[in-house]
Every structure is written in C-alpha cells, then in structure tokens.
Amino acid sequence: MISWLSGASSAIFLPLFIAGWISLLCWFIDCIRKKNKVETAVAASVFLYTLFMFVWRCKLNVTSSRYHFGCGILLLVCFGWWGFLSRSTHKALKVCCFFLMILLLGSSLFRCFWQFKKNKNFAPLGQFLKEQMKHYERPVIVGLGGESTRIKYYTGLDAFTSIHLDIYQKELIFLLQESDCIFALSSPKRLKLTCSLFPPERPLVKIGYDPKTNMVICKSENPQWRKKAISPEGIPDRIETNENTVFAEDFENPVFVVCKDDLAFRVLKSRGLIAGDKTLFVKTMEPHGGFGLVNMKDARFEVSSENVVAGKYSLLVHLPYCSGGMLLKQNFSNKQSYRGELYFKGTARSRFTLGYWPKQQPIINMAIEQTDEIYHVTWEQPAGEGPSSQYQLYFFFYSDTVIVDNIRINQI
C-alpha cells in the first residue's frame, strides 16, 4: 500500500493531472446524462484507460516523474474539458473557462523558458577544477549523489569518481591512499555529511563555491604521498633474525610457492603471506587461505628470480590493469611496539600501501619515482596504534610493477 502511495505521489501533485482527470469524469457523466452511446463509449474508454495507466504505474512503484510522462498525451486530451464546458449553457462559466485556458497557456509558456534558465552550467566548475588539479600528481574528484554523471560529462575530467554514500566508506579508504589530493563536490546542504565521511587525519577543506551548480568544492591533501624512499646500502641476500624478530621473509625459502593458472593466482604454500585482488581484498579477505585474483589480465604475483632486489628470489607483483592485496599472517599485539623494514623497486609511478588490517588504516604509502632504483623503507608500529588488541598488516599494490624483498619486523 505504501509503495502504491509513493508511486501515486509523484503524479498526484501535478495540477494538469488532477484537472485532466476531473474534467474527464465530468465529460463522462455528461455523456451518460445526454444518453449519447457513441460518445459515452469513448469517454468510458478514455477514463478507464487513464485510470488503468495511473494504477499500473503506481503498482510499478516508479518514483521518477518521467514514467508518468506517458500519461501526458491522454491527460492533455482529457484536458479537453474545454470541449465539455463549451457545451454548457452557462455563459459566465464559458467566459471563466476561456480566461482560465489563456492563463494556463501563458503560464506554461513562461515556465518553459524559466525552467531552462535555471539550468545548471558545469563549465566554470570544470575550469576551476582543472586549474586546481594542475598542482597535484594524482588527484581524484569525488562527486556525491546523482549529479556525478553530468559533472563528469561537462567537465571532461578523467579523474572523476562517482561514489554512492552506502559504499562510500570502503571506497574512500582506497581513494585516500591512491591519490595525493581528493576534491569533493557537495551541495551546501550535504557538506556536513560529506566532511564527516573523511577521517580526522585527512580533513576536507572548503576551497570554493560554484553558484551556477550550487556546489561546494572541498579538498583533502595527502601529505605522505610525496615522501621520498631511501636508497639502500649493501642489501643482505638473507635476512638476519634475532630473538626480537617477529616476522621475516626474504623469499629465498623454497617453501614459498606462488602458482598461476588460467584464471587465478593462488598462494599454495606460504609461510606468512596471502595474496588477492582488490575486490576480494576489500570484501572477503580472511586470514586463512589463498584466493584468486579476478580480471587480472597479464598480471603476475609470484616469487621470481628475474630483476631481483636481493638474493636469488624476490616477490614480483605486476598488476598492469588492476590492484591487489597481500596480508601478513603474523598477528601483532597492540600492547607492543614494532619496527619494520623492507626493500623494494619497480617501475616508475608504481605504488603500494602498508597498513593495519582489518581496519585498513595506512601506515606508509610508497611511490616509486625511478624505474629499477632500489629503495629501503622503515616504519614503526607504536603500542596502542593498532586497530585492535590483535591485528595484522596488509600490503596493497596499486599498479604496474613492484618487487619486494627482505621484509623484517622486530619487536622494540
């Protein structure tokens, strides 16, 4: 019943609809009164038809007024109540009706032009965004709500991502890591809600307002993005471990085997790592086994002897068209502090993130600036920083090629 009412509500407030229906009913009654069988049949058909269309569309539970537009022709024909009223013998009623018709035509014509005058113009907004985006290497524009398609089309900006609020939380985590600046477009009414979706360490700052589209433009910068990696000095072939070492992986152990079949990559025997694609990583990744990588055309996720960082083998992650994740099976305690390090190299502009799992808070975001230059990075996991008392770490690789080696985490 509620769905019927919601469907009806989108049409019932149209004045033409109401007037058309009332007039149609009047016409039908008039035909019966005058005992004109031919006219009555037509009037009855038209009346029943509009009734059927209305009920049918309400049953469909369509909220868009566009779906009621099909009724338009009939409703306007129904508006031939003028025809009915013109037969009336009351002169005063005829005059009133005539003026009403003139008023209706005039107001319709005026509304036509007025309606389009209020149309949104996205060109200035696009120009403003283009200027702002020049200052960043990898900006992303986020548009909330239904306007995103039009903004994308009229601004012609490739960096546009339209996001729905229900999945926003998940997507935002990746966008925050993936970009050096997020531009968010929001209506003034929803600005507070939009700002609340961003984490405190990456707040949204208002940078402008476009009156032609009624949109507030905000941005959130990523200060970690430009962090430079350190060049290595004398990388050891094998990792040296001690009593404080919690996790160590140099990929030299033959137990670590990565297998590839036609459709998927699977870590068959792993001492401490699980790999997967972005979708699975977000939705279903569980720390108890390997799983496939989907849509991974030409992708490689393997322990390889080619182009190694150190020793005979390194972990090669080549993801030309998509991104993928990797989880450390090792559990870390929130009560302890840890210090980690790893060596990596790859193709320029390839990126990866290391963060806390399962909350997906990033610890470091790394971008490779020069192809085949080896970088050494260290990080810290201070006590109390982890998302829960027991947590894990994950790697997330965004694009192209990254070769990782000698991952070591020590307890401090």
């Binding site: 033409l16 069988k37 031919v38 009555t40 049949a41 037509v42 009855a44 058909s45 038209v46 029943l48 038809y49 059927f52 269309m53 049918w56 569309r57 049953k59 469909l60 539970n61 007024s65 566009r66 779906y67 537009f69 099909g70 338009g72 022709i73 009939l74 306007l76 024909v77 508006f79 031939g80 003028w82 025809g83 009915f84 013109s86 018709m101 209706l104 035509l105 319709s108 014509l109 509304r111 036509c112 032009f113 309606q115 389009f116 005058k117 149309n119 949104k120 113009n121 996205f122 060109a123 239904g146 398609t149 039009r150 089309y153 009229y154």
Partner: protein, 258 residues
C-alpha cells in the same frame, strides 16, 4: 472526417500546432546548459563501437553493453553517419518527435470531442506544456515513444470513428508495438484499443464479431511492427533486438510480479 471540419481546417490545425511547437522548442534549446543524466548514458552508448568496445569506463562489459543497446541508441547512431554529432542528431530527432506529438494530440482531441476549439486548445497546450518541452529537448526515449503512442491512440480513434476499417486497427498494433519497443511502458497503448472494443460492445456500437476482428488485426499489426523494427536494426547492425525485447518484457513483468 467529421462533416463540420474540412480538410483545409484540419491541415491548418496540424501545420500551425506543429510550427508553434517547433518554434517553442527551438527557442528554448539555447537555454539548455546541461542534459539529463540518462541522456548522457545514451550518448556514451551511441558513441561506443560495439564491435571494438571491450569495456566501458563504468565497468559495463560486452554482454551488458549489448543488452543496453536499445532502439533509441541505434537511432542516435545514425547522427554521425549524416555528419552530425550524436547530441545534435538526438536534438533534431526529439524536437521533431515532440512537435509531431503536439500535432497528433490536437487531432486526437478533435476526434474525441468533435470540437475544433478543443483541438486548438489541446494542441497548443501540448506544444507549450513545460514537461513536454523539457523532454523534447532531452536525449531520452520519451518523446519518440510518446509520439508513437499518440499515433496508436489516433489510429484507435480513427478505427472507432471510421466504421471499424481494418487498416486502422492494423496501424494501431503497429504503432503500439513500435512505441513499446522504444519504451516498454508504452505497451499500455494496446489496452486503450481493448477498452474501446469492450465499451463499444457494451454500448452496442458494434458486434462481438467486429471487436474480435479488430483485436486480431491489432495483433497482426503488432507483429508487423516488431518485424519492421527488427529489420531496420539488422540493416544497421548485426545485433538483433528480439533478445532485447524479451529481456525488457521479462524485467517489466518481474518488477510487477515481484
């Protein structure tokens, strides 16, 4: 037609309503700064080469892409062949369709009310009605489907007024089928004919035999309509629409039946 309306009057009515409708739409067109969201979707599809497209930017794959290629998209694809952009051609198509719809509305009003003044009023109102103008200037399926539905209603009325001439019933089915292929909701225009048959029999305007014949003729017209559209599409592209029609009907009825 009606004894009191001459052909010249009818022609004048149609021409004036069509021209007014066209002028209003052309005058309002420059004020339009942005299109509807769905219009942009159609433009994107029309600009996509189905044979070369592997994946659309929004993640639509080949199978989904084919099911989204509606008749309207194929019509939009004609634009670039004529040296026009998809948007320009879409506007020409829809403005023309919207203007024809206003003209047809006037003639329908004339047939229903048998009153020239009512016809003028209905025609003018359809020509300047804001919703009608808005959709004529969009790149949506509505104006085209609306015009074909109006044509179906007009032929239904002509069948009724012209002593149940078989050719009008056939055309009713034809236009209804074409309208339904373009926009599935327009399948409702078939119902108007059925209602007229029913009320005509109830009020003894004609016999059950005539009504049955009319129904058969309408269904035959539907078949011709579906076949005609199929042939037109096949001549443009190797992708047939029977699959698309089936999918559309299935979706439509699954929505109703829950």
């Amino acid at each position: 037609m009606m004894p009191e309306v001459t052909h010249r009057q009818l022609l004048a009515l149609s021409a004036v309503i069509f021209l007014i409708s066209l002028m209003v739409r052309v005058a309002v067109l420059p004020l339009q700064k942005s299109l509807e969201r769905d219009s942009l979707g159609y433009i994107e599809l029309a600009q996509t080469d189905l044979r070369k497209a592997v994946e659309l930017p929004n993640g639509v794959d080949q199978t989904q892409l084919r099911s989204r290629m509606t008749v309207f998209v194929y019509l939009l694809k004609i634009g670039p062949r004529l040296g026009l952009s998809v948007q320009q051609w879409g506007h020409i198509l829809n403005i023309f369709a919207g203007s024809v719809a206003a003209m047809l509305a006037a003639v329908i009003a004339l047939l229903i009310f048998q009153d020239m003044r009512a016809a003028w009023f209905v025609g003018l109102l359809t020509a300047v009605e804001p919703v009608s103008v808005k959709y004529s200037l969009s790149l949506l399926r509505e104006p085209l489907a609306f015009t074909l539905a109006a044509a179906a209603i007009l032929t239904t009325m002509l069948w009724y007024r012209k002593k149940q001439c078989w050719s009008w019933a056939l055309l009713t089915g034809f236009f209804s089928a074409c309208a339904a292929i373009i926009r599935m909701e327009m399948i409702e225009t078939l119902f108007f004919f059925w209602l007229l048959l029913l009320t005509g029999v109830i009020f003894r305007r004609f016999s059950c035999k005539v009504a049955g014949l009319g129904l058969g003729e309408q269904f035959a017209g539907c078949g011709v309509g579906v076949l005609a559209v199929e042939l037109v599409i096949r001549s443009c592209n190797s992708v047939g629409i029977f699959f698309g029609i089936w999918q559309t009907f299935r979706q439509y009825f699954s929505r109703i039946l829950g």
